[in-house]
């Protein structure tokens, strides 16, 4: 008979303390859940749960305030970096993050994203790039890849008529106020652990008041990509990563 290992002293991994008990509403296999968990674990590791304030977006993660067990605010669509700016300036000793999808951050909120980074606001911007508007049913986003199908580009994105996909992380990395910009994924254990390390780094930089940190997570949307979770992750590796390569984009000098 194997001995029973399931006892408190043997516990090595459980749900983050910086998350509530509430069940996530995301579709099966959606990267939003894992991205939430890695950010919450970074908050646990730094022991800053009581000093962290998050701003939720409009998009599938609109209900992020139910899931993070830290003070949370909900911003109007795309305005999270502006709200985060106000909070951080009034409460500079707090750790402030936004959590935004590509429609929120790179379409309606492009101005807020660029200007917060250009001003070098001491906030962490978490950017979930799934190349599509998930919540509203899979319309084309600025980040939609060339030839990628969406409900508003049913034959695939045609660059001539629909423009180029936008690498907004590379764009804001050019701005003097951006201190750290990096791109990750959460679809494998190793990638998810790296993402958590990037979140930790970005939150630690916030203590030094060096400028804006942006952590992009290239993610999936199995429902609107119309794939199983496993297929969507494979598609992401084959199609998203070549255009949105993983790794650091701007690191502190």
């Amino acid at each position: 008979m194997a001995e029973n290992l399931i006892k408190p002293e043997n516990l090595v991994y459980e749900k983050s303390k910086s998350m509530t008990e509430r069940e996530l509403h995301y579709c099966p296999g959606c990267g939003h859940g894992t991205a939430h968990r890695m950010l919450a674990e970074a908050i646990d590791d730094l022991d800053i749960q009581g000093e962290t304030i998050g701003i939720a977006p409009v998009g599938c993660s609109v209900l992020a305030y139910y899931y993070f067990d830290v003070d949370m605010l909900e911003a109007a669509h795309g305005r999270a970096p502006a709200v985060a700016t106000g909070i951080k300036r009034v409460l500079p000793e707090k750790y402030v993050f936004t959590y935004q999808g590509d429609g929120d951050l790179a379409a309606i909120g492009t101005a807020e994203t660029i200007h917060a980074c250009n001003r070098g606001e001491n906030i962490l911007i978490v950017f979930i790039n799934n190349g599509i508007y998930g919540m509203t049913g899979g319309q084309m986003a600025p980040t939609t890849l060339e030839n990628m199908k969406s409900t508003t580009s049913p034959r695939g994105r045609d660059i001539k008529t629909m423009g180029n996909p936008l690498k907004i992380s590379e764009l804001v990395a050019e701005l003097p106020g951006t201190y750290y910009a990096t791109r990750h994924s959460v679809h494998t254990p190793a990638n998810a652990r790296k993402t958590k390390r990037a979140f930790k780094k970005a939150l630690e930089y916030q203590k030094e008041n060096k400028g804006t940190c942006l952590v992009e997570v290239v993610s999936n949307c199995p429902s609107n990509w119309k794939m199983t979770p496993a297929e969507s992750n494979k598609w992401m590796e084959e199609n998203m990563f070549p255009f949105y390569p993983l790794g650091d984009i701007k690191t502190p000098k």
């Binding site: 290992l5 090595v12 991994y13 459980e14 749900k15 099966p28 894992t34």
Partner: protein, 71 residues
């Protein structure tokens, strides 16, 4: 010899995405034939080769899995 581990799967929270299965180096996990109250097939243990590496729990979007490992 590798340390022994074990996992606890909260089957009612599972959404049957199968991402944990692909991430397990020991092939400990598989999908159930039955469904939970949400209507999803859920992850189940099919052998006792777990080493407590936590890969499955790290990739689970819904924080369904808790991991134990002998000290």
């Amino acid at each position: 010899m590798a340390k022994k581990g074990d996992v606890v799967i909260q089957i009612e929270k599972c959404k049957g995405c199968e991402l944990c299965i692909a991430s397990c180096p020991q092939n400990v996990l598989a999908m159930s034939d039955k469904v939970n109250a949400k209507g999803f097939r859920y992850a189940v243990k099919v052998n006792s080769d777990c080493t407590g590496c936590a890969n499955c729990a790290v990739v689970c979007p819904d924080a369904v899995i808790t991991v134990y490992r002998e000290k």
